[in-house]
């Protein structure tokens, strides 16, 4: 079982993410104040609170498939977040859901493919490339780390830890960049010198995933 990612783990991840995003909302909004419109933290906290509300409302006895869970999260984010991040994170989860099996668990390799499909969905919508100073700068290296780890036979927890590290590095790397996508791009050169808020929220999500799988993996190992 240590080699699988389960729907229950992802649900825990989503609930913990809601707490983490709420705790970091001010910080994310402050980043968005500098080069955007001061709403990213509020947007993410609102969206994930809605995800938790929907999870709470679901019948406790039925556990959803990965596919159903991820799609439902995507729909919720799309209809509750708004802004660029709403459609992009919404697409992330929707497209993860489309790539996920109608099953309760998936192995590390399969999980990496699911995340890769979701991130590809973001790129398909937003057309951002690595270095454009967006969430892609955190997500793209995270996907690569997940895939590499899975290919070398790592367990999901270890793979997620590596992905979280890669995402954090990608987030930090956005600081000197001049934004070429999203609201920050309107600033031109003035966007340099600030971390991208979407990259920061992506790094938080991945760190929370790593923490969740580590706790669970630790317990179940």
């Amino acid at each position: 079982m240590a080699g699988e990612v389960t729907a229950a783990q992802l649900e825990t991840w989503l609930r913990r993410s809601a707490d983490v995003l709420a705790a970091h909302a001010e910080e994310l909004t402050a980043l968005d104040s500098a080069i955007g419109d001061a709403d990213h933290g509020t947007n993410m906290a609102r969206g994930f609170a809605a995800v938790v509300a929907k999870l709470d409302a679901a019948p406790a006895d039925e556990s959803p498939t990965l596919q159903a869970l991820l799609k439902s999260v995507g729909m919720t984010l799309i209809s509750k977040v708004g802004g660029a991040s709403g459609s992009l994170y919404g697409t992330l989860f929707l497209d993860m859901g489309k790539a996920a099996p109608a099953a309760n668990e998936v192995d590390a390799d399969g999980f990496a493919s699911i995340v890769a499909a979701g991130v590809a969905g973001i790129v398909g919508r937003g057309h951002a490339e690595l270095g454009d100073k967006t969430m892609i700068d955190a997500l793209d290296p995270a996907v690569a780390a997940l895939q590499d780890a899975a290919a070398s036979g790592a367990a999901p927890a270890a793979a997620a830890a590596g992905a979280a590290e890669a995402a954090a590095a990608g987030r930090d790397a956005t600081e000197p960049l001049v934004a070429r996508k999203g609201r920050a791009s309107y600033l031109g050169e003035r966007s340099a010198g600030h971390i991208d808020p979407g990259a920061a929220s992506s790094a938080l999500l991945l760190q929370t995933l790593a923490d969740t799988l580590a706790d669970d993996g630790g317990a179940g190992a």
């Binding site: 419109d37 209809s79 708004g82 802004g83 609201r183 309107y186």
Partner: protein, 330 residues
Amino acid sequence: MKKLINSPDTVLADALRGVAAAHPELSVDIENRLVVATEPRENRVAVISGGGTGHEPLHSGFVGPGMLDAACAGEIFTSPTPDQMLAAATRVDAGAGVLFIVKNYTGDVLNFEMAAELAADEGIETASVIVADDVAVEDSTWTAGRRGVGTTVIVEKIAGAAAAEGRTLAEVAAIAERVSKAGRSMGVALTSCTVPAVGHPSFDLPEDEMEVGVGIHGEPGRRRVPLEDARGIAHDIVTAIADDADFTGAPVIALLSGLGATPLIELYVIYADIADALSERGISVARVLVGDYITSLDMAGCSLTLVKADDEILRLWDAPVRTTALRWGL
């Protein structure tokens, strides 16, 4: 932060309740955060716009005969979501299709794009026009392009008038596109706005400085400079706009909007200087609006929009309109 609100979380819902209470001629869908015109549409094209809240009267103040059929309200400074837009389209489509008027922000563009896909799934034909008129932003195909600001108001009026005439969706979209391309705007902030959920000003602007080219969400502009008098500011704005596109040789529609905390008297003071600056450049203004049309919460300052018009556009501009913020002939 001093605001007439109950809580930062309920600003949008409360404001929609207020619109509903004040304007029984509008239908307000609090659940989907929509303001919808109640007049029958009878097989004509419907026009929808929407965007983050905080720019009032844009967009809800422009709903009514001769202008928008529906406005979708997002959270403060946050674009609305595809499901809202779909709900609006479903309500107002009369079989002739729906035009989405979208300000060029990634969030708005992506969400309206998704809405168009959802609408297509439901058999509703849509077209979209994107307004990207803020000359403060350097134009580049490598980036998200320019921000959409004041020209949106004029696009909404012209599109609404064209739809009222019974034109097809392609025709309405075409003239909306033409107006959008013919418009340029720039704003100047004297003070920052304060987002209710944030509770403090979005940026610091010292007592003796102003932000030239500010965005309607408080985005930084072209430069931070020492505070100027009205004449100096008028000169800066007119120069930036008129250097970006040629506004001579045709009648121009001018829109001078306050940013939310600027008294009307100041708008008239600077309009006098703007009028001088325009006529010095040989730009001839055929129609003018001075007032609050596209705002940024409680920001002090103003923005100027010019649209190069022609007889057709002027005729559509003059067509009757009955909304809470723009009304004539009805």
